[in-house]
Amino acid sequence: MHIKISNGLVIDPANNIENKHDIYISEGRIAAVGKQPEGFTLDKTIDASGCHVIPGIVDLRARLREPGLENKGTIASETRAAAASGITTLCIPPDTTPVIDSTSVVELIHQRAQEAGYAKVVTLGALTAGLSGEQLSEMALLKKYGQCVGVSNALIPVSNNLIMRRAMEYAASCGLTVFLHSQDEGLAGNGCAHEGAISTRLGLPGIPETAETNAIARDLLLIEQTGVHAHFCHISSARAVQMIARAQYDGLPVTADVTAHHLHLTEMDIGFFDSNCHVKPPLRTQRDREALVAALATGNLNAICSDHEPHDADAKLAPFAETEAGISTLETLLPLSLRLAEELSLSDVVNRLTWQPAKILGIDAGTLSVGEKADICIYNPNTSWMMDPQQMLSSGRNTPFAGWELKGKVEHTLLNGKVVYSI
């Protein structure tokens, strides 16, 4: 199959390209950008006039809910939503049921993803067996036979410092990046919203900023001691950004991501107990939000991810604190990121959605270099649309963005040179 994508504005940050080019695809790979290769016989042309052509989005963290919580979503349902949103690679954290601490779970996930055929799926292995925070998982085997691209204890903190040190040391010797959700359980307590003006007004138990910064401080010290490569997931506060920027300046091997919703929402959006704004880490203040956007521009925050957490309707039908945390975000990831084009260049936005996350995961993706697999997202930046939960493809319709006017609509998504979504 030989495909030409014509007349689109090609944005490929890895190769410093932001120009109108035609792209030629052959045998599932990028054959050329610009000039038609010799002997290229065209089977199909995709007209991308007025559109941007970018590498398929690499989502650092998305819960597809399978195995274990198929009432909230399946690998098929969620990867289909991903394809329609221009996402071609998703990284799954290990808190499935059963936990990703054995290769058989990874095999199941890869098999389901392959059957569905909408997107590639990579996995993080558990940092500790059963995510218990007590015993090391079989990281080396998870890497070797499960192709796990990193290890993580998901949302469950490892509170024992010694075990965290050992886990980091072991991961370092396996050459695995540790993905950290840094939150001090004691300080977070039973909190469900940022400890601030809104939680005080609503009488909701708060999660203070120090729950995040205290844990990051501990983790940074252990990273320095062990030399492990570490990635901080969903940074939410200005102070945390400062600490990570300082560590990067000092030369520690750390990267960090932020979710698209933390770049756009604050504690104020909870309003009168909107449970769709119940998320971990909590939405913080306007000052924090602005610091997150600024750090994304400077590159101290390396990537934007969805942190997709689809829920069934019942999970959100209760008083705020009793609802399950999480937002269904695959379908808003690209348009919310494009909204940042005032603070960041377009190329930087694309970079933080594609090439940077691919580098963090250490996978071949996120670029349109000749010879790479042709994972491509083609979107029209000028199409406006209204976010309507009823129209969502994800099984989880838990979004606080209902009614938002969004700009940027995916028209085609290609996976290994095959069209997996067309408008």
């Binding site: 400890e195 003006a197 009488g203 009168f272 107990f273 019942d314 209760a318 008083p319 705020f320």
Partner: protein, 325 residues
């Protein structure tokens, strides 16, 4: 964008009573005026008015309560409504029935009003968002969020003694962090134009962001009580000792318990209030609780007429003129 006035109907009248926050001063004054008119009903030979005859009111209490539930029940009965008392911890939710299923079942039995107490902040809002259009919800306390009828009966009591809200200094002493009563009182006092509202307590039980609520924070009882007109003592929950919020009841009483001596710092005609139930010797000395400046039992009496006012307004049955007849 979001629906902020869920408490009001399309004509701006009170449909649900969930929080004081967002209600206009005139609405609060109306509630107080209605309550004033109802306050004589209890002294009559026949302690009933027929305003809510034929209406069914369900008291849904997910948390144990004696006074609040009893005064709501009495208020409903004095308005001639039929009352259902449902204590949920012993009932449906333990069988796995969801909160919404239970509500819809009660709605199917043509209940007109839910009076709800729940241990989760926002529970009353949640219920109000999901009831049928003809059903009203009154919040009888949700988590640490709000307890609007308690705040209004406190305002009623203050007005009986002090008339003009705009000349008062009011101090609220104790666990502001976990108190729905304090939050509602603060909103009510600010809305009614009280120029100085103080909160007094150690930093562990005063939220960091308390100033956002429109109060002045004091960590010292001696300073905080200077020249106040109203002292509101909050109940100290025993479980606060466990979360390392306070060292002991003994120390708390020593530092923040209201004694006759400390009360002398307030204005000579200051009144002492407490939402009850009282922990004698923990937050308040018996001689103060039972003393001449205490209006604690009056608060209980006023609770009935204020709740009659809120219920009759929300069920849209009365104008002030009707009540006066």
């Amino acid at each position: 964008m979001k629906q902020h006035d869920i408490q009001l109907d399309s004509e701006g009248k009170l449909r649900h009573f969930l929080t004081i926050e967002g209600l206009k001063k005139q609405m609060l004054l109306d509630i107080l005026d209605y309550a004033e008119n109802f306050s004589s009903v209890g002294n009559r030979q026949v302690k009933k008015v027929p305003l809510l005859r034929g209406k069914t009111i369900a008291n849904l209490f997910f948390e144990p309560s004696t006074r609040t539930r009893t005064t709501f029940e009495l208020a409903a009965k004095r308005l001639s409504a039929d009352v259902l008392n449902i204590n949920i911890n012993t009932s449906a939710t333990t069988k796995g029935e969801s909160l919404l299923d239970m509500l819809h079942n009660l709605e199917a039995m043509q209940v007109d009003m839910f009076v709800v107490r729940h241990n989760s902040s926002g529970a009353a809002h949640f219920i109000a968002q999901h009831v049928a259009p003809h059903v009203s919800v009154i919040n009888a306390g949700d988590g640490s969020h709000a307890h609007p009828t308690q705040a209004m009966l406190d305002m009623f009591t203050i007005r009986r003694h002090k008339q003009d809200f705009t000349k008062l200094t009011v101090a609220i002493v104790g666990d502001i962090m976990h108190s729905r009563v304090a939050r509602s009182q603060i909103h009510a006092l600010n809305t009614l134009g009280v120029p100085e509202v103080r909160v007094i307590g150690p930093q562990t039980i005063i939220p960091n962001e308390a100033a956002h609520l429109g109060v002045h924070v004091y960590h010292d009882m001696q300073q905080g009580l200077q020249n106040v007109d109203v002292v509101i003592m909050l109940r100290l929950q025993r479980e606060r000792m466990e979360g390392a919020l306070l060292p002991s009841e003994h120390e708390y009483f020593h530092m923040f318990g209201l004694t006759e001596k400390k009360l002398k710092l307030a204005k000579p005609d200051a009144i002492v209030m407490h939402p009850g139930p009282i922990n004698r010797g923990v937050e308040i000395e018996s001689t103060v609780a039972d003393g001449p400046q205490s209006v604690i039992l009056e608060q209980v009496t006023h609770g009935i007429s204020v709740r009659m006012a809120a219920m009759s307004m929300a069920l849209g049955r009365s104008s002030l003129a009707e009540v006066q007849d």
